[in-house]
């Protein structure tokens, strides 16, 4: 039997001006029936292009310029538009990344799904009663109340629900090939875990062949039979999942696996192994092996383009040196785990005076009063984004703040740095009280406290050179004269490991990782005592993220700067942090030393978070804790314990009515729960 999808030697290009830029080069991939194949790559690797090309779904300016695509033996490139329409309707379906863009906002879910029913004759009977088919499809994706969802408009559903609807819609066609393009990337970890389990179950039940596109090696590990790694438009390695994670042969795969902080690994134990440099742009692709400029094992031979070689049954790799790597004759720098075990944690704690102390910080947002409220004399309703949070950070130490969207972690940081005014509570910086508003803080205070923001593309003014940005910060914060500031700017760049030639560049000429390095350099201009990082590495590719994490780790050791590090990614937080606080709906529910956070007892929410983190091991057997429903909005705050609406260990009225107490779990670990420490073990 022909494979469901067979791609041979495919080259896909985009037109730019009069040139063609190759986004995918000579890629070959096959998916057998019932097989789940993961397509992994960093941003710009061409993974989405390859997936869309496989469906002949390319945008106007894209075209297949070589190779062939066969769907169940049929040559897709030879299909007429009418035939393609038949293929799209029945045989293949796509679940795109952003459901809100793909769903029609003006149409209820039910009718929208009914449109996706295939019109093949064998299903005509079912078309006569489309509603039943639609409700079945919604039930199949574990939607609790299908009739209610069918009546809703897309914007009334949460992100997780929208993605379920998209999956239901794709499955309605009973496709033989399902392509999922980063379906969980915009979702919270706990929601992502639920969707991934759902997808896995659905594939098992139906035997649909799946192409799953993702940038996250962990997500793919738990889901796919086979994983193909894409780099700069080339498939560098393609192997059974178990093989790929245990015995990666391509230096890029090795590097990618090593850049991801393993859960529980701390910076004091080992440095991460980033891949130097960044993914080349399509017009700057090297002529030989595409990975050679970043590869630690590159030799002269790598100036020639390697062929795809068969390393083992079903394991292809595009590298000149795979045999040597396989035999262990080549030491990839990334592989030697240089465990530079830092001084004992106890030693560090001795020097710790408190840099930041936050006591019972509260932030309320007033919701605007509507006309009806005004007439009825109702007061403005308030949303508590942060509710009584107390945290401390010592000199040279890092507090990691973890939480899903809506947990109030960003609001907390903005209140500390002064971009938002706190409504209550005390904040002291080096034992001096910190005024709530930015304009009440003197220059000496501003100098001590800086922040690095989330989005690298918005971190720097696009119209000012790196040099201009840095010198301005130096003269403002460090009070340097013009000449001195210009000189220091070069040193700052060296601090973040960028060449002084970058001073002349505009942000548009930098990669995402480089922009974030400049933003970090700017924050270090005043040699602050406390630096806040708001999801500062979340937008970066893993190989780049690892380099930034290492950089932050080094800078902290040099300057003894305290960090408040915010992220939704527990493994990243635990890597960098000394202490970790877990936030849920504006409150800290679980806090303790980073090393202790991974050992029971856990707050039920922390336990769910931990179980949801994708791990880089396809063979790992883990019990996922599924949280019911979605995070309630801060406007409709649950009474009692805020987590009780979703808690798998809900006790009843006690949880629903009374605020839970803090429980001392020993070694500095505190858990806010009605259950005792013993019960939480």
């Amino acid at each position: 039997m022909a494979p469901v999808l067979q791609i041979d030697d495919l080259t896909v290009s985009y037109r730019r001006g009069n040139d063609w830029l190759d986004a995918v080069c000579n890629a070959s991939l096959r998916i057998e029936s019932g097989e789940t194949v993961g397509l992994v790559g960093e941003s710009g690797s061409g993974k989405t292009t390859l997936a869309l090309a496989a469906l002949r779904y390319l945008p106007e300016n894209g075209a297949v310029r070589g190779g062939s695509i066969h769907l169940a033996g049929r040559d897709l490139l030879a299909c007429t538009p009418a035939e393609m329409q038949q293929v799209w309707r029945g045989q293949v379906r796509l679940v795109p990344q952003n459901p809100l863009v793909s769903l029609n906002p003006a149409m209820r879910i039910g009718p929208q799904l009914a449109e996706a029913l295939p019109s093949t004759p064998s299903l005509r009977a079912r078309r006569s009663n489309p509603d039943a088919a639609v409700l079945d499809a919604l039930a199949a994706v574990q939607i609790a109340d299908p009739p209610a969802v069918a009546r809703s408009y897309p914007h009334q559903l949460s992100g997780g629900m929208q993605q379920r609807v998209m999956i239901a819609m794709a499955l309605l066609g009973e496709p033989s090939l399902l392509v999922l393009d980063e379906p969980t990337t915009n979702l919270d970890v706990t929601t992502e875990a639920v969707i991934l389990d759902l997808v896995r179950d659905l594939i098992r039940q139906r035997g649909t062949a799946v192409l799953y596109v993702s940038h996250n090696l962990g997500v793919v590990a738990g889901l796919c039979d086979r994983v193909a790694v894409l780099y700069a438009g080339e498939l560098v390695e393609d192997a059974p999942a178990a093989d790929l994670y245990r015995r990666p042969l391509h230096p890029y795969t090795v590097g990618l696996l090593d850049s991801v902080p393993r859960l529980g690994l701390n910076r004091r134990q080992a440095a991460l192994q980033p891949i130097p440099g960044s993914v080349p742009k399509p017009d700057e692709r090297p002529a030989g092996c595409v990975f050679a400029p970043r590869c630690s094992a590159a030799i002269d031979l790598c100036q020639q383009r390697p062929k795809a070689s068969q390393a083992a049954a079903g394991h292809t790799v595009r590298c000149h040196r795979w045999a040597e790597i396989s035999a262990g004759d080549v030491m990839l720098v990334a592989r030697e785990q240089t465990f530079e075990v830092a001084e004992n944690l106890e030693d560090r704690e001795a020097s710790g005076d408190t840099v930041l102390a936050v006591l019972e910080l509260t932030k309320r947002f007033d919701r605007p009063r509507g006309l009806a409220d005004l007439l009825a004399g109702r007061p403005a309703s308030q949303v508590r984004a942060v509710n009584g949070v107390s945290v401390q950070i010592g000199r040279g130490r890092t507090l990691g703040l973890v939480g899903e969207s809506g947990s109030g972690k960003t609001t907390l940081a903005r209140c500390v740095v002064g971009l938002a005014e706190r409504s209550g509570g005390e904040v002291t910086l080096l034992d001096l009280p910190l005024a709530p508003a930015l304009n009440q803080r003197g220059p000496a205070t501003l100098r001590r406290l800086q922040m690095v923001f989330q989005n690298p593309d918005e971190a720097l003014n696009p119209y000012r050179t790196v040099g201009q940005t840095l010198t301005r910060s130096l003269s403002r914060l460090a009070g340097l004269g013009k000449a001195e500031a210009q000189q220091r700017a070069g040193q700052l760049l060296a601090l973040v490991k960028l060449d002084p030639s970058y001073l002349d560049r505009l942000p548009g000429q930098l990669s995402g990782g480089e922009k974030q390095r400049v933003a970090i350099a700017r924050a270090f201009a005043s040699q602050p005592d406390l630096l806040l990082f708001d999801e500062s590495v979340s937008a970066l590719d893993v190989s780049v993220q690892a380099a930034i994490l290492n950089l932050l780790s080094e800078l902290q050791d040099e300057g003894q700067t305290a960090y408040l590090f915010i992220s939704h990614d527990l493994s990243v937080v635990s890597y960098l942090a000394d202490e970790v606080a877990v936030m849920y709906l504006g409150q800290v529910v679980d806090a303790g030393p980073a090393a202790r956070i991974f050992q029971p007892p856990h707050h039920p929410y922390t336990a769910a978070l931990l179980s949801a983190i994708p791990v880089l091991d396809p063979t790992a057997q883990r019990e996922r804790i599924h949280l019911a429903g979605d995070t309630p909005s801060a406007a409709a705050m649950p009474s009692g314990c805020r987590f009780h609406t979703r808690c798998p260990r809900y006790l009843g009225d006690l949880c629903a009515q009374q605020e839970p107490p803090w429980r001392d779990a020993g070694d500095g670990r505190w858990i806010r729960c009605h259950l005792t420490v013993e019960e939480l073990m």
Binding site: Q450, M451, N455, E458, L460, T465, G467, R472, P500
Partner: protein, 293 residues
């Protein structure tokens, strides 16, 4: 280090003109915008050197040569009072361009300043400012103009005021939309936590982001302002006779259209040509700005 910093200085000073040169090149890359830009430049030349070009003065009446069709002596003919239409059209260019240009410039300056401040500060200041602007926008421009000129009396300054009042809110709205988007960006917040003054943040961080949209908006407003000046002249509430105002000329010649149609057609054609030219140039400018960004 010293050679490095000096190269920073030369690069940054060299960049600005090159950006504008790129815009100009883009303008001439498309036939339509090239035509529009050429028309505008020609009219600007007319405005600058009009007195040197015009063979007669704008008000000189030669009764013996009244109502003459176009001829080598009077290229565009003469009107019923014996004034040379060509000279009046040429000399009128300066008036209309200066009035519309100055008005647009003032509207852009005031609109940008208020838009930047109000949108950045937010709160009641923004609410108040933009509610007032909204109510001005709700009135048709011509109605607002008649209202203002009716109370102030028709004069050149009155026309200027009308242009400013009518176009300031529109400019402020354009600026506001950019500011609202920029306010929450990382580099603006980074400037805030560096303790930069509001003036610095608005002028140095946000204004550069506004400039592309503002340039296009200014060009568009200019074309509308030309039309507005002409309309007011035509209605007789703008520039007063015997000024060589194109709108006024059309209005005066209208009653004698059967006798001296040329006195009607040429000023009307001048208005149309200039407005179309500015519009084409503005459109090209928009594309050029998008290309350069």
């Amino acid at each position: 280090m010293t050679h490095l910093s000096s190269s920073v200085a030369t690069r940054t000073t060299a960049r600005r003109p090159s950006r504008w040169r790129a815009v100009l090149r883009e303008l001439y890359a498309r036939p339509a915008s090239a035509l529009g830009t050429t028309i505008v430049l020609l009219f600007i030349l007319l405005a600058l050197f009009g007195p040197l070009i015009a063979p007669y003065s704008a008000t000189q009446q030669i009764p013996s040569e009244a109502r003459q069709p176009p001829s080598p002596q009077h290229w565009f003919g003469t009107d019923r009072l014996g004034r040379d239409v060509f000279s009046r059209v040429v000399l009128g260019a300066r008036d209309i361009l200066a009035l519309a240009g100055l008005g647009t410039l003032l509207a852009v300056l005031i609109g940008t300043t208020t838009g930047l401040f109000a949108a950045y500060r937010g709160g009641w200041l923004e609410e108040g400012t933009f509610r007032v602007f909204d109510s001005l926008l709700a009135l048709p421009a011509l109605l607002l103009a008649l209202l203002l000129l009716g109370t102030l009396g028709a004069s050149r300054n009155g026309v200027l005021l009308v242009i400013v009042v009518v176009y300031t809110p529109i400019v402020a709205r354009v600026v506001r939309s950019v500011v609202l988007g920029a306010k929450s960006k990382g580099f603006v917040e980074a400037a805030q936590i560096q303790g930069e003054s509001t003036g610095h943040i608005l002028g140095r961080e946000i204004l550069p982001l506004v400039l592309p949209a503002l340039t296009v908006e200014a060009a568009l407003r200019f074309s509308y302002a030309i039309f507005l000046v002409a309309s007011l002249g035509f209605l007789g509430v703008g520039v007063q006779p015997p000024s060589p105002d194109w709108g006024l000329m059309v209005s005066e010649a209208r009653s004698y259209a059967a006798l001296t149609p040329w006195a009607l057609y040429f000023p009307a054609a001048a208005i149309a040509l200039l407005v179309v030219g500015v519009n084409l140039a503005a459109d090209g400018l928009k594309r050029a700005m998008q290309g350069a960004a």
